[in-house]
């Protein structure tokens, strides 16, 4: 059996006594695609915050390839190969689409690298390929702020891929997308899995079913159940947390 790529062990996060995560343990294998669902406030986004270094857990450990991520800054974790897409599509609105991608794809991320070194041809090719793939080639020289919501989502995902991370954490990648865009996003994500470890957080059940990946249900900061989407959907515990308990 291979070693897990990313491992959270007994992680708790408390905001002034309120526990956003309680004893959460999740292991992700290399190349795995995992969906995470859960009602509002289940701790889905906090889970990503802990991995990416935005929030420090009050207890527990986070290991990436056997090394602890705790205490590292966001940029260091990102450079180790963990990329994250936010709930809202955060792109640099005043930069051209291609400049957005080049910033993400650039192998040197220190000031002097940006001042003195040209962007390598390989990275430029990557950017071109991604532009084509997401269909934003005609908008390469458009300011990212002028794109539609769906295009921004795609650009945000493309920027993530351009970073060529080992782990992609996608927070609601299809929020606000049309059905067609949603199914294309599902294809994109499935094509990324295998080479990358992908974690998808979504509310859209149709989309989760499309992905056809193991599902982890979070509730009140810990894992409620894990399994295939069909099993999870019929699990009485899951139905209860989503719909509330029937009062007799």
């Amino acid at each position: 059996m291979t070693e897990p790529l990313l491992e959270l062990d007994d992680v708790s996060v408390s905001f002034d006594g309120f526990y956003a995560l309680t004893d959460l343990s999740i292991r992700l294998m290399p190349g795995e695609l995992r969906s995470i669902i859960g009602p509002n406030g289940a701790g889905k986004t906090t889970f990503l915050d802990v991995i990416t270094g935005k929030v420090r857990p009050s207890k527990g450990s986070v290991n990436f390839r056997g090394q602890s991520l705790l205490g590292l800054s966001e940029q260091k974790i990102s450079r180790k190969g963990i990329g994250r897409k936010f709930q809202t599509p955060r792109v640099f609105e005043n930069l051209d689409v291609i400049r957005n991608l080049e910033l993400a794809a650039s192998p040197h991320k220190n000031p002097f690298g940006l001042l003195y070194d040209k962007i390598p041809v390989a990275a430029k090719d990557d950017v071109q390929r991604l532009l084509n793939y997401i269909g934003l080639e005609p908008f390469a020289r458009t300011k990212a702020g002028k794109l539609s919501h769906g295009q921004k989502q795609w650009l945000a995902i493309a920027m993530l891929v351009a970073q060529s991370p080992q782990v992609l954490l996608l927070d609601e990648p299809v929020a606000g997308l049309t059905d067609e865009e949603t199914s294309r996003t599902a294809d994109l994500i499935k094509s990324l899995a295998g080479q990358h470890t992908v974690v998808v957080i979504e509310h859209d059940m149709e989309f989760i079913r499309d992905l056809n990946a193991p599902v982890t249900v979070l509730h009140q900061g810990s894992v409620l159940t894990e399994g295939r989407i069909e099993d999870v959907k019929n699990d009485p515990k899951v139905i209860e947390v989503y719909l509330g308990q029937a009062k007799d």
């Binding site: 990416t52 640099f92 910033l103 991320k109 220190n110 940006l114």
Partner: protein, 378 residues
């Protein structure tokens, strides 16, 4: 038109170097020299505020430090300023017998030329690094820089024995190369130096704002957190631009001091540093031409208004600032470059020239068409 655009910077430079000195009297020319010196400060503020989103209200520190540097050198090297002990006369008023240690390097002209930008740069680097490393942003950054400004102001104001306190250092009566610094000939040279250094400052700012480094600055301004998650550490980027801006402000302060004839803690007042920000806002932040326009226009206006109605300037300045913020959020340059002039003409009934629908109706061929159709039917 393209050729004109390429030549425009050279035309402006030639105008400033040869035509303005020929037409303006010594007094006006000196004022323009000061405006151009201040334009360098405006460029520096644009670099950190317009591009990187760091609204510093403490650039007066670096401006004044540059001014003090050049003034100390001039004081030391002027025989008429020297008192009995061979040190500047004002020290005698406070019973100081020995030159304070930090004056020593300013005996040397080369060291002074380096110190006027290096000292502000070092202070900016230390202050900036500590602020940025602790992730202090936005309003808190502005407040801290303003607090730092007040600390410097009160220190310089209170230290008669070190740098003549509130009186400041007068440079107009000092000598350089055997000539009085305040003399018209000398001032013409300072004007020329300023006119040549302003484009260099412009090019420095362009070097940092174009290309991928500039992209990173804009990314920091727009969404710093996102940039961190992309794998960039914003701290060195911010520290570098803050250092560059500090150095430029120091240079600007030195040029301003030799042309205004005095440096005093007045350069470190809160009002002065806020005015610097106003120049950039009026001219157009986030562009490099804007701040130069802003600094020259606002200060020229200030001179005109102050001459006509001395008490009115602060009201005019306030009104100008409000006007720009409300009606021209992109400043003068941004307003022009986004077609504001055409819109203004349109508001007065002068339609902008476009080849679209309403204009098409006026086209002779288009008008002829229905006639010819009608004619054909007959």
């Amino acid at each position: 038109m393209k050729l004109f655009r390429r030549l425009l910077p050279w035309i402006l430079l030639a105008t400033a170097l040869f035509i303005l000195p020929a037409f303006l009297d010594d007094f006006r020319l000196n004022l323009f020299g000061r405006y151009f010196a201040l334009a360098i400060t405006a460029l520096a503020i644009d670099l950190i505020w317009g591009y990187t989103g760091l609204l510093s209200l403490g650039q007066g520190i670096f401006f004044a430090l540059g001014g003090y540097g050049v003034a100390m050198n001039l004081m030391l090297n002027t025989k008429s300023e020297a008192g009995a002990k061979g040190i500047p006369k004002f020290f005698e008023n406070y019973g100081v017998e020995q030159l304070p240690f930090f004056w020593q390097p300013f005996w040397s002209a080369p060291l002074t030329l380096v110190a006027i930008w290096l000292v502000p740069a070092i202070i900016a680097g230390v202050v900036g690094y500590l602020i940025f490393r602790n992730r202090i942003k936005g309003v808190y950054f502005s407040i801290i820089t303003q607090a730092a400004l007040m600390v410097f102001y009160h220190f310089f104001n209170g230290q008669q024995k070190l740098i003549n306190g509130t009186n400041g250092l007068k440079t107009s009566t000092t000598e350089l190369f055997g000539m009085l610094v305040g003399s018209p000939d000398m001032q013409l040279w300072f004007y020329r130096i300023t006119v040549l250094l302003l484009p260099i400052a412009f090019l420095i700012c362009r070097y940092f704002t174009s290309g991928r480094f500039g992209d990173a600055l804009i990314a920091i301004r727009d969404d710093e957190q996102r940039l961190r998650f992309t794998g960039y550490n914003p701290v060195p980027f911010k520290t570098i631009v803050f250092i560059v801006a500090g150095a430029l402000c120091g240079l600007s302060g030195a040029l301003y001091t030799i042309q205004s004839g005095i440096v005093s803690p007045q350069y470190m007042t809160i009002a002065m540093s806020i005015e610097m920000v106003i120049w950039v806002a009026v001219g157009g932040r986030g562009t490099l031409v804007g701040p130069i326009i802003g600094a020259v226009v606002v200060n020229y206006l200030r001179s005109l208004v102050s001459e006509a109605l001395p008490e009115m300037w602060l009201f005019v300045q306030g009104a100008l600032f409000i006007f720009v913020v409300v009606l021209m959020p992109d400043g003068i340059y941004g307003w022009f470059s986004k077609g504001g002039f055409a819109k203004l003409l349109a508001a007065f009934g002068v339609a902008p020239r476009t080849a679209t629908y309403p204009q098409l109706d006026l086209d002779e061929n288009v008008r002829a068409e229905p006639k010819s159709i009608a004619h054909g039917r007959d």
